[in-house]
Every structure is written in structure tokens, then in C-alpha cells.
């Protein structure tokens, strides 16, 4: 028998779940929110989502070509970044600005750090932060959804804007409208219902765990309650649900251990409330996650688990 067989270190068995499957699940989980975006903002939503979905993998492919790296668009992470960024953009944003945002997200946010796994900041949020700095007007121009009670395509303010700037002439949406998504805002952040469906799918598929979303939302709810402001309003407005389930839970930029993730979520929540109530912006989800991303390495160092046999009281014979 002269046959030779393959040698490798154990284990010889591996789960079927791989990186593209994880990313595919995130994409699947974002479908309800994307559909809601198209439903509420029609053509505006469709064009922004399409531009981002095309330019994200393209930017990754081109940058990897230039940097002479292995092509990794098959891991689907660029598609996730593109879709996530699209959902954080205001409906009327010119498509070319969206395209720049996505290129910044992929190239500056990810590729320059060494590609998937090495970026310290959530790439989609890097893209958004850069756009807010460069096109502040375009990035804060909002319209009412086409399904709104008021005439369509009229510029307006987001619910958080209304509260922050005490705009008396604007009507605040009801809690139900907020939950369903019938309000002004970024494309994918408006429908709490659609986002929750996606979030629950990710939890069910165990792609994320409860630790970050629950601690994040918990802090926002608790602090609103203690400060005697409308808890549901704080939870349902802005990009909080999108951020808590899809942005803060990004594996690469959040802590490794479950304990660390709870700390991470709590800090995100505190930061969000701080910006919303005391900061210059009406909304703080994007910046709070980016800021807490900076703490991830430190949190990782502080939450190294105690090894087996180190925690034990030594066994004593009676």
C-alpha cells in the first residue's frame, strides 16, 4: 500500500458555519429594514442602497488589487458594510456622496488597517462620520416618509431634532408611528419593528448574543426613566436600535469576552445619552459607538477570564 494520506494537527472536524455564512446572516437580518426603507422612502432608498451595495465590494476589490492583497470580497463583509452604511444615510443624500462614504468606509475604515479583522472602528460608522464632517447640510436634511400624514418630499426635522431644538411647529410622531417607522430619519433606522425582526433573527442564529444590545438599550432605558424623560421615545428614535443590534455588535470592533461586551454596551448607552442630552448633536449613536470602539482593546485586557482550576477553592479532605 503506497498510498499517502494528509497529515494535519487535530481537530479533523470543523463546523460548517464560516465567515461568509456569518456575513450572509447579517445581510439576511438587514432585509426587513431595507424593505422598510424602500417602503417609506421609495426611490430615494432604492438608489442609495444600490449605490452602496455596488461600491462597497468594488472599493474592496480595487484597493486589494492596488495593495497587492488577496481578493476577499467573497467573505461578504464589504456587502455588509455597504448595506449598513446605506441604512444610516438620509434619504435625499446625492448618490455620489453616498458612494464616497462607502469608499471611505471600506478603504479608510478597513483596508488601511489590514483588512477584515484588523480595523479598530466600525467601518460603516467611519464612513458616516466622515460624511457628516464633509457634507453637514446634506447629511442632516430629512424628509417625511411618503406614507406620512403630511405632503411627501418636504424637508423636515427628525423626532430627536424636534425635541433638541424645541421646534414647536413640528408634530412629534406617536409611539406607534415610531415603532413602525413612519417618521423622518435615516433610511434604515426608522422602523423599529423591521430592525427588531432582524435582530431577533441574529440572536436566533446565534450570530450575536444578548450581551451588547441588552446592556446598551438597558442603559438608555434606565437613564431615561431616572431622568423622567419618555423611555420609549428615547429607545425608538434615532439610530439606537440599528446601532445596538447591528453596529455595536460588530465582532471586529467589540470586546471578545461576554463580560467585556456587557461593559461595552453599558458605555455605548451612557455615551449615547450624554450626546443626546448634553452634546451638540441631536443624535449620538454613531459617535458613541466609535468612541467606545477605542476602548475595546482595554476592555479586552481587563476581562481576561480566570482559567479553569484558578478559581477553585482548593479541595480539602475532611
Amino acid at each position: 500500500m503506497e498510498e499517502k494520506f494528509i497529515l494535519s494537527v487535530s481537530p479533523h472536524l470543523k463546523t460548517k458555519e464560516d465567515v461568509p455564512r456569518v456575513m450572509l446572516d447579517v445581510i439576511i437580518a438587514l432585509i426587513p429594514a431595507s424593505l422598510a426603507a424602500v417602503y417609506f422612502f421609495r426611490w430615494y432608498a432604492l438608489r442609495t442602497i444600490l449605490v452602496c451595495l455596488i461600491f462597497a465590494p468594488l472599493a474592496e476589490w480595487v484597493s486589494e488589487k492596488i495593495m497587492k492583497r488577496k481578493n476577499t470580497i467573497d467573505d461578504l463583509s464589504a456587502v455588509v458594510t455597504g448595506l449598513l452604511l446605506a441604512l444610516t444615510l438620509p434619504p435625499t443624500l446625492p448618490p455620489w456622496i453616498a458612494a464616497i462614504g462607502v469608499i471611505v468606509a471600506i478603504v479608510l475604515g478597513k483596508a488601511f488597517f489590514g483588512g477584515l479583522g484588523w480595523n479598530p472602528f466600525n467601518p460603516a460608522l467611519v464612513g458616516r462620520a466622515v460624511l457628516v464632517a464633509c457634507w453637514p447640510v446634506e447629511m442632516t436634511t430629512w424628509i417625511k416618509p411618503v406614507t406620512s400624514r403630511v405632503l411627501q418630499a418636504v424637508t423636515t426635522a427628525t423626532p430627536l431634532n424636534i425635541v433638541k431644538e424645541k421646534l414647536v411647529e413640528e408634530i412629534l410622531p406617536t409611539h406607534l408611528e415610531l415603532f413602525l417607522g413612519n417618521r423622518a430619519g435615516s433610511l434604515g433606522e426608522t422602523s423599529v419593528l423591521a430592525l427588531l425582526i432582524g435582530g431577533i433573527y441574529l440572536l436566533y442564529r446565534r450570530q450575536i448574543t444578548w450581551h451588547i444590545p441588552l446592556s446598551y438599550l438597558g442603559v438608555v432605558a434606565l437613564s431615561s426613566f431616572l431622568l423622567k424623560i419618555d423611555v420609549l421615545f428615547q429607545l425608538f428614535t434615532g439610530g439606537l436600535i440599528l446601532g445596538a443590534f447591528f453596529m455595536a455588535t460588530d465582532y471586529v470592533t467589540s470586546p471578545l469576552t461576554r463580560k467585556g461586551q456587557i461593559i461595552f454596551g453599558l458605555l455605548c448607552g451612557l455615551m449615547t445619552m450624554l450626546i443626546r442630552l448634553k452634546g451638540g448633536f441631536p443624535e449620538g449613536v454613531c459617535y458613541s459607538i466609535l468612541i467606545v470602539n477605542m476602548l475595546t482593546p482595554t476592555i479586552d485586557k481587563l476581562t481576561v477570564p480566570k482559567k479553569f482550576g484558578a478559581r477553585s477553592r482548593m479541595f480539602t479532605n475532611k
Partner: protein, 437 residues
């Protein structure tokens, strides 16, 4: 509620051979008996080329505490004593015997009628002389485990019937078919340790074994069967103790530090054979399975039989074979040839069409390796630190506590060969340690 340990995985069980009774393997024409089949000091040969040997005759031994003698499993002629490939991957001096196919038993083998007044020293001596080692795979000499230092008080013997690796069913079949013998062996082990409490731990995916063993011990109440959650690595010594007694073996320590000795059910059977029938360890049950073998079986095999003999008895290869493994798919050792012998620690032979070797991607920091690690380690850190040769940092992250169960590499969605990195890191660190001395 079933007590449990942290982490672990539950891959497809693949126990295709669980309902196939143990069959005697064909008599081998030739056996290769490595002079080291145990953890510890290698044996010196007691025979010369050309010598006639009988079944059960001692052919290798050494005067060292941590060692176990080797016996001939056939009668015939010693044709060579030479270095030969061992299934653990090293080259080991081995005695090669051609069988005369007469199976003449050595005169030294005498059954023992009376078990009542056997002393604990006698039991230990018989176990040592029979060359018995842990048959769950680790192959640590059993008589050493039975002689703990005086200051360590042992109160419990645990028999490991977890068999948590996929595919393997050798222990299961033993528990179902040779229940009385195992229990008798267990009682002898308890006597040798002078302990009152004996517990058999069996995973709850083997209800038949739990029932059969439970029935057989119902008369004596110092013995107990504990049903364990089916979760890999339930059969890891430290995790078995954690699940059954909720005692945590200290890092770097041994089960005897928490008053426990753990033995495999197969070992208990071998003890019975040695003490009652006088037979040294010359055969064991091996599961031959995997999607690359036509008729998977549980075979009772003479030690030293070549893998290829057993595979051909199981109908031969089925399809294009990429991998041959000694042991289970999670901790087993890959073989590049089938011309290696079954040794005392061979629990199974797996023939797989798929090598499981997949191109890896960068770590996405999902943290699953940390979730599943039963030792509470951060495996992904080892890939990073070992790749950059940060040995001391890897040590700070407790790399030496890793039990190499493979849960992390199994679950990793980036397919990073974490155990590979860990073994590399450990080897470097241990080499540095010996250099310092």
C-alpha cells in the same frame, strides 16, 4: 439538573457502530509491538531476533517507576527489533513478531479463582506486570495512578464511560456487552486505592449503557452511575470530575489533588482480565469507522496489528481517502500510512474521505473560541501571539493550561488552526524551560 462544565461543543455524533457487537478481529500474521506504548520511560527488549515467543510473554520492560511492560500478543518468532513508525508520529524501537498462528499461551498465565483475600499490593503488582495503561487514549501507566503520594487522600474512583468523541463506540460496546467484567475490574481498582466510593460517568446519549450498568450495580450501593450531559469534551478527566463532583482540579494539578482517581472503562476491563484471568494487556477494542470504510465495526484487536489489516477486515476503503486518524476526529492523530500498529492507546481508527483541511481567513474576533473553551482561555490570542513569536505573552495568557481538546478550532468560522498554533507555542515554551535548567 445535570451538573455541567463551561464551554464545550456538540458536533454530529456519528456513532454509526453503536449497535454493532464487538467482533474478534482476524488473527494477525505479523505484529509490530513498539517498546513504548505508554507515557513514561521506554522499555528495553527482553527477547532477541530469532527467539520463539508465546502469547502473553513479556518481551519488553524497564526498571523505572513510570513505565509499563510490553507483552507479545501472538505466538511465533521474533523477526526483527528495529525502529518503526508509531501512530503518534515518532519512530520507536519495536519488536516485530511473525505469528505461527497456533496461539500458544505462555505458561505464566494462570487464572485466579479467589478474589476475596487478594491484597491491594498484589492488585497493583498484577496491574503493573500486565502492562496496563489508560486505555482512553492517554496511555498513562495505571499502577502509577493507583499509588498516590501519602499526603493525598483519595476518596473517589471515577470510571470514565463518557466516550465523548464522535464516531467512537468501543467503550460503549464494552459497557453493554461486558458489564460484569467492568464492574469487577472497578471493584479491584477501588480496593487497590482503598476507596469506598466508585462512580461511573456515562454521557446521556448512551441510555442503553446507563441502564445496563445501572442494573448490574444495583445490589451494591457504594457504586453509582451518573448520567452526564452529552457535550464534548465531557470525557476530559478534569471536566468529568467537575461535572460529577463539582471539584475543580487546580491549574497544573492532577485529579489526585482533589481526591479523585479517574480510569477509563476499558482500563477497568483490562484490570479484570489481568487479575482474574491472568491475561496481560495484549488486546483491546478498537472502533474502525468513518465515511471512507465500507463496513464500520467494533473489533477486539491484538495489540500490534497493523491498521491496514483492520481496514481490510472492514471491507476496505470506500471512495477516495484523504485522511486516516488514530482516535477520534477531535483529538486523534492523523496517519500518513496504514502500516502503523494498533497500540495500547488506540481507541479507534477513522478513515475519512474529507481531510477537514480548509484555507483559513483572518480572525474576525467573534469570540466563539472563548465561549467554547472548557478551560476559560482565549484561544484567538494564541494564534496572534504565536504567529509573532511572543512566547512569554502566550504564557501569560495561560497557553500551558490548554488541554488541546480542539473545541476552538472546531467552532472557528475563520477556520484558523488554533490547536496547531497552541501546540507550537507550548513546544517552544517547554523547550525554553528545559534549556534554562
Amino acid at each position: 439538573m445535570k451538573r455541567k462544565f463551561h464551554g464545550g461543543i456538540h458536533p454530529a455524533e456519528e456513532k454509526n457502530t453503536k449497535d454493532i457487537p464487538i467482533r474478534q478481529a482476524r488473527e494477525p500474521k505479523k505484529v509490530v509491538l513498539p517498546l513504548q506504548q505508554h507515557t513514561g520511560v521506554p522499555c528495553q527488549p527482553l527477547v532477541k531476533v530469532g527467539d520463539e515467543v508465546k502469547v502473553g510473554q513479556k518481551i519488553g520492560d524497564v526498571n523505572a517507576l513510570i513505565s509499563a511492560p510490553v507483552h507479545s500478543s501472538v505466538s511465533g518468532k521474533v523477526v526483527a527489533i528495529e525502529p518503526y513508525l508509531h501512530p503518534t508520529g515518532s519512530i520507536v524501537s519495536s519488536v516485530i513478531i511473525e505469528s505461527d498462528e497456533k496461539n500458544t499461551l505462555s505458561e505464566e498465565i494462570k487464572p485466579r479463582a479467589n478474589l476475596e483475600n487478594i491484597s491491594l499490593e498484589e492488585i497493583k503488582k498484577i496491574i503493573r506486570e500486565a502492562g496496563i495503561v489508560g486505555l482512553g487514549g492517554a496511555a498513562f501507566p495505571t499502577h502509577v495512578k493507583l499509588s498516590p503520594p501519602k499526603e493525598k487522600k483519595i476518596d473517589t474512583l471515577i470510571l470514565n464511560g463518557a466516550e465523548c468523541e464522535p464516531y467512537l463506540t468501543a467503550d460503549y460496546r464494552l459497557m453493554v456487552e461486558r458489564t460484569e467484567e467492568i464492574i469487577s475490574g472497578m471493584k479491584l481498582l477501588m480496593k487497590a486505592l482503598s476507596v469506598e466510593r466508585g462512580i461511573i460517568g456515562i454521557e446521556d446519549n448512551k441510555p442503553e449503557a446507563i441502564k445496563t450498568v445501572g442494573k448490574a450495580i444495583s445490589e451494591g450501593n457504594s457504586l453509582k452511575v451518573v448520567s452526564l450531559r452529552t457535550k464534548y469534551p465531557q470525557g476530559s478527566e478534569k471536566h468529568l470530575i467537575k461535572s460529577i463532583l463539582n471539584r475543580e482540579v487546580p491549574s497544573g494539578g492532577l485529579p489526585l489533588d482533589v481526591g479523585v482517581v479517574v480510569n477509563n472503562v476499558g482500563t477497568a476491563y483490562a484490570v479484570y482480565e489481568a487479575v482474574v484471568k491472568g491475561l496481560p494487556l495484549i488486546k483491546r477494542v478498537v472502533t474502525v469507522s468513518g465515511n471512507g470504510v465500507k463496513e464500520p465495526q467494533n473489533l477486539e484487536v491484538k495489540i500490534g496489528t497493523l491498521f491496514q489489516d483492520l481496514i481490510s477486515q472492514c471491507g476496505g476503503f470506500d471512495g477516495k481517502i484523504e485522511k486516516i486518524i488514530m482516535g477520534g476526529p477531535l483529538m486523534g492523530i492523523a496517519q500518513y500510512t496504514t502500516e502503523v500498529p494498533v497500540v495500547k492507546g488506540t481507541t479507534g481508527i477513522l478513515v475519512l474521505r474529507d481531510s477537514g483541511v480548509i484555507q483559513s481567513r483572518p480572525c474576525i474576533r467573534c469570540g466563539r473560541c472563548i465561549d467554547v473553551c472548557p478551560v476559560y482561555l482565549m484561544p484567538t490570542m494564541y494564534a496572534l501571539l504565536v504567529e509573532h513569536k511572543k512566547w512569554e505573552d502566550a504564557e501569560k495568557y495561560n497557553i500551558l493550561d490548554c488541554i488541546e481538546c480542539g473545541c476552538c478550532a472546531y467552532i472557528c468560522p475563520s477556520r484558523i488552526p488554533l490547536v496547531h498554533y497552541i501546540k507550537y507555542g507550548k513546544t517552544e515554551l517547554l523547550m525554553k524551560r528545559t534549556q534554562k535548567r
